[in-house]
Amino acid sequence: MATPSIKVSETPLVLYTLRRADDALILGHRLSEWCGHAPMLEEDMALANMALDLLGQARELYSYAAEVEGKGNDEDKFAYLRDVRQYRNLLLLEQPNGDFACTMVRQFFYAAFADLYWRAMMKSCDPTLAAIAAKSEKESAYHIRHSSEWIVRLGDGTEESHRRAQIAIDDLWAYTGEMFAIDDSERGLIDAGIAIDPASLRAQWLKTVSEVVSEATLSLPKGEWMQQGGRSGRHSEHLGHLLSELQSMQRTFPGATW
């Protein structure tokens, strides 16, 4: 890795925006890994479309974080020149694609949250975040519809698809709690009306998820213990591998364009 990482001044609003930008970039990158590998052409296109939605969200959020920070960083530097410990995304989103069921369950858990989150954020008193929310909400509304339909068909499909979908739910469940957690730096933004309290979305999220999972003849684990760490840069081993691919070009050929 030839290019050193940038320094980021993580004031509460910069950190908050970077966390959401990292969510979108990392999940978008995961989905893009399916390009050319999906089980059928139709889903190849669907996954790539959603990856591009997320990449678009990431770009807007990174640009806003750069503007708020005002230290000469930009969307590319945030994406390409931060190491694993500087990334702030949810652990759920960096989990490997696994099989198609695993990708769909990850997508479903997150989209069910993101749809509620962006809808609530449209009322943010920060006009830029509210505008990004208004655009992202329409995208996440489709992501939740798309993944819900697949969860139902995988769960209520064949014995094999049911088995795989249930394994994915069991494996990823412990990563869902992090979506609703906040820390002190976010508390201030919530009090100021800039951010929303994700805990307020949990009941509706659980209702949506439970209904779809039940229609799919699948079940949610009873486990209460939840994995955390992504928001403060403590990641699973998978993120480093993802970043080494995502960043290899800019790290090797700094500033390369084409």
């Binding site: 059928m40 139709e42 889903e43 296109m45 479309n49 798309h146 339909e149």
Partner: protein, 95 residues
């Protein structure tokens, strides 16, 4: 790849209000709901559509190409069916 689980669907897109739905292609999907989603993802990525129809391909009854003589040639010699023999008064302008 046609499998019994993913039959073929024909996709029709209406691009603007006032226009008819137009056939744009086909795709494979498990059922009507998934076909509609796939149609959205494949055929409206560049803002092509305001409305989508999907129809099971096997619901379409097609004319037999070997009967095209009987079906279509008789119309070829009846040019008087085209409304091109009327004088349109100047005042009407473009119709």
């Amino acid at each position: 790849m046609a499998t019994p689980n993913t039959p073929l669907w024909e996709v029709f897109i209406r691009s603007r209000n006032g226009l008819a739905h137009k056939h744009v292609g086909s795709l494979h999907a498990n059922d009507a709901t998934m076909a509609l989603q796939a149609a959205r993802d494949i055929y409206t990525r560049r803002g092509e559509g305001l409305s989508i129809w999907v129809v099971p391909s096997n619901a379409i009854t097609a004319s037999d190409p070997s009967e095209k003589g009987m079906m279509f040639e008789p119309a070829e010699s009846k040019i008087y069916r085209h409304p091109t023999f009327y004088d349109v008064p100047e005042e009407v302008g473009h119709m």
